[in-house]
């Protein structure tokens, strides 16, 4: 045996052409004795239906919970509106009942008396308008007469 041939037998290298299965990766470099899973969970290819299902379940439960709160809020607001309407109705009813119980009397003025009072005022000789029409001698007489009546002449 030649030395060249011995070295080639000792240092046996792997064959060049290795069959690659694209669906499988083995990041840990461990050989499993059992069957390998054909689908790669770490791959970026198809997404898991489980995650999607969990997500949708969470969303649904949140939505249902919020719907319950919204319903309670709407109910409270509707009740307050109803109560407000009832208060207005009772106020209007009370007002109407009170208004019905009030009696209003009108006194017709005595126009004849009013006319006579006005006439007497206008005809009053001591009215300023009438006094201004007098001459000085008449005013002198009136002045003296008034002082005598007042007892200060």
């Amino acid at each position: 045996m030649e030395i060249k041939s011995i070295s080639s037998k000792i240092f046996r290298t792997a064959p060049k052409n290795v069959e690659n299965n694209n669906n499988q990766t083995n990041p840990f470099g461990v050989n499993f004795k059992g069957k390998m899973i054909s689908a790669d969970v770490f791959g970026s290819g198809s997404k898991s239906n489980l995650v999607e299902k969990v997500k949708s379940k969470m969303l649904t439960s949140a939505l249902v919970g919020s719907m319950g709160d919204v319903a309670a809020a709407i109910s409270t607001r509707l009740n307050s509106v109803l109560n407000y309407g009832k208060r207005i109705k009772s106020n209007v009813t009370d007002f109407w009942n009170k208004a019905k119980s009030i009696e209003i009397h009108f006194e017709t003025p005595n126009f004849k008396e009013l006319g006579e009072t006005l006439k007497s005022k206008l005809n009053n000789p001591y009215n300023k308008k009438n006094i201004e029409k007098l001459d000085v001698s008449e005013l002198r007489s009136m002045f003296k007469e008034r002082l005598e009546i007042m007892g200060v002449a």
Binding site: I131, V136, M150
Partner: protein
């Protein structure tokens, strides 16, 4: 209509009357009245007329206008003089009284009122 209102109407009419004879009526009947209120209203009417003859009565005559024995009447007349828009005639008569009047009391009063009018 009560007496005071009638009296006021008569005196105010005399204050504004066009006939200058109204001054004589005010002096004869009004300034000689024993009642203070009547004299006060009369003095006011004479100042309102603002003529030399009406102002002379309230400035130069003893016991009338600014020389009235009632302080109320005198002060009221002085007030009316100070309220005049045109004080020229009043100042002229006051000046004349201060310089020429025989009565010292009237001179003194005229001097005081003139000083007040110049101050206001």
């Amino acid at each position: 209509m009560n007496n005071n209102t009638i009296l006021t109407n008569i005196i105010e009419t005399l204050a504004k009357h066009e006939d200058s004879a109204a001054v004589g009526v005010l002096e004869d009947v009004g300034t000689n009245c024993p009642d203070d209120e009547v004299r006060r209203l009369t003095a006011k009417a004479l100042v309102t007329r603002n003529t030399p003859d009406s102002l002379s009565i309230v400035i130069l005559e003893k016991g009338k206008g600014i020389n009235d024995l009632s302080t109320n009447v005198a002060m009221s007349t002085i007030n009316e003089l100070l309220s005049l828009k045109d004080k020229s005639k009043a100042l002229q008569i006051l000046n004349d009284a201060e310089e020429n009047h025989p009565d010292e009391n009237i001179k003194e009063t005229a001097r005081s009122v003139k000083a007040l009018m110049n101050f206001c």
